[in-house]
């Protein structure tokens, strides 16, 4: 039996989750929401996380019904993400790891999303579309690495959506993307806008005045291309933008045409959360990974393919 606690705070969500052998025991989370028209800045976000993190940590333990002694490993997000919030969270993880005498484990945020998606959906070996405010990548597992087959050449699709929401002053509560989706459901006219796919990659910065249809179609195309290259019959969508039902619907159509299966998780797990860091930490810890304190620095850039995936064959 292995119990891992995971700390996540690389963007505007702060979450701490506890996993025991594939069971999510607790996963509390708080979101820093800014007024309409404003994005979230690193120092304000760090201040938000600082104010609530110890409360969320207590909640995670209480909701799981566990004491620190029951924890086997402390996992935290090493990167990628915003510097100041990452440091705030890493400080608490390092401190409790030492106080409780438990090993520490730095986790790649993107791999956290992937491992949570695999756990919840039980997809076998899917092509992964990772779409969020900070990241847009098409990923396939091959020989001990999560290979990045395609990605945005400029901004993440979620960043594009968030910036569009800011321009037209849509509320950021609960998230700008959610509110765009609700408004888009009531739309009936399609306006043709620049559709920018370059081979395996996509570009979003030129089309900030887009609507969902164009952007999501671009993502479906590059996912399909990666599936063709890998001979894959499964798609897993992870990351906050993965909550979008229209994206899931469009991806579903493509999958049906190919006889492939589509997997996605709900907002508890596709939006940044602590349990996903715990889950990736659980896999890593059991395959022998540990992070020494001196090496536990956070990093704003951390590519998904930098990690050796020793826990899969």
């Amino acid at each position: 039996m292995t119990v891992v606690i995971g700390f996540e705070g690389s963007a505007n969500k702060i979450g701490i989750g506890i996993i025991r052998d594939g069971e999510v025991l607790s996963n509390p989370r708080r979101t820093y929401i800014t007024p309409p028209g404003q994005g979230f800045m690193p120092s304000d976000t760090a201040r938000h996380h600082r104010a609530v993190i110890l409360t969320v940590l207590k909640e995670a333990l209480e909701q799981a019904g566990l004491k620190p002694a029951d924890i086997d490993c402390v996992a935290y997000t090493k990167g990628p993400g915003m510097g100041a919030p990452l440091v705030t969270v890493a400080l608490v993880a390092r401190t409790v790891a030492q106080l409780w005498g438990k090993p520490l484990l730095g986790v790649n945020h993107c791999i956290g999303h992937i491992e949570m998606g695999r756990l919840i959906t039980q997809a076998n070996n899917p092509t992964v579309l990772y779409v969020s405010g900070g990241n847009t990548q098409v990923i396939a597992y091959l020989e001990r690495r999560y290979r990045i087959f395609g990605e945005t050449i400029d901004i993440a699709v979620g960043n594009c959506l968030d910036r569009f929401a800011r321009v037209i002053k849509i509320s950021n509560d609960p998230s700008p993307g959610y509110n765009i989706e609700q408004m888009a459901k009531k739309g009936s006219r399609y306006v043709e806008l620049p559709y920018t796919v370059k081979g395996m990659d996509v570009s979003f910065s030129g089309i900030l005045s887009f609507i969902e249809e164009t952007v999501f179609a671009m993502l479906v195309e590059i996912t399909e291309r990666a599936m063709a290259h890998c001979g894959s019959q499964e798609v897993l969508i992870v990351g906050g933008v993965g909550c979008n039902l229209r994206l899931q619907e469009m991806m579903g159509v493509m999958c049906k045409e190919r006889g492939a299966k589509l997997f996605a998780t709900d907002e508890r797990f596709c939006i940044d959360n602590g349990a996903m860091i715990a889950q990736a930490g659980w896999e890593m810890f059991r395959s022998g990974y540990v992070t020494e304190l001196e090496d536990s620095w956070i990093t704003q850039r951390y590519r998904t393919d930098e990690v050796e995936v020793t826990w899969r064959d």
């Binding site: 993190i53 400080l91 401190t95």
Partner: protein, 94 residues
């Protein structure tokens, strides 16, 4: 606790000594606060060490503004570490 200019190097220096109840706790703080690197601009560097039950920090910087930001940032981080230790400490004996 004033800032001084090192006559040899021309850099601004700032020293801070933080007492802890025990050397074990000072070391926990040290190991939590030392891994992250200082942002590269402004010629700022800081060094942390523990002596007895005191955590000592020495800063060296080209510009006062950069020094101020780093010290303020460190104090915020230190207070988070101390608060965490108060809530979840003392360290277990290994």
């Amino acid at each position: 606790m004033a800032t001084e200019t090192n006559q040899e190097t021309g850099k601004l220096e700032f020293f801070l000594d933080v007492p802890f109840p025990s050397s074990g706790e000072a070391t926990v703080a040290l190991r939590s606060l030392s891994p992250d690197r200082e942002p590269r601009r402004g010629g700022i560097s800081k060094r942390l060490s523990v002596s007895g039950s005191t955590l000592s920090v020495r800063w060296s910087a080209d510009e006062a503004r950069v020094l101020r930001v780093s010290v303020n940032s460190f104090l915020d981080h230190l207070s988070l570490v101390v608060e965490t230790m108060e809530l979840f400490g003392p360290p277990v004996d290994l």
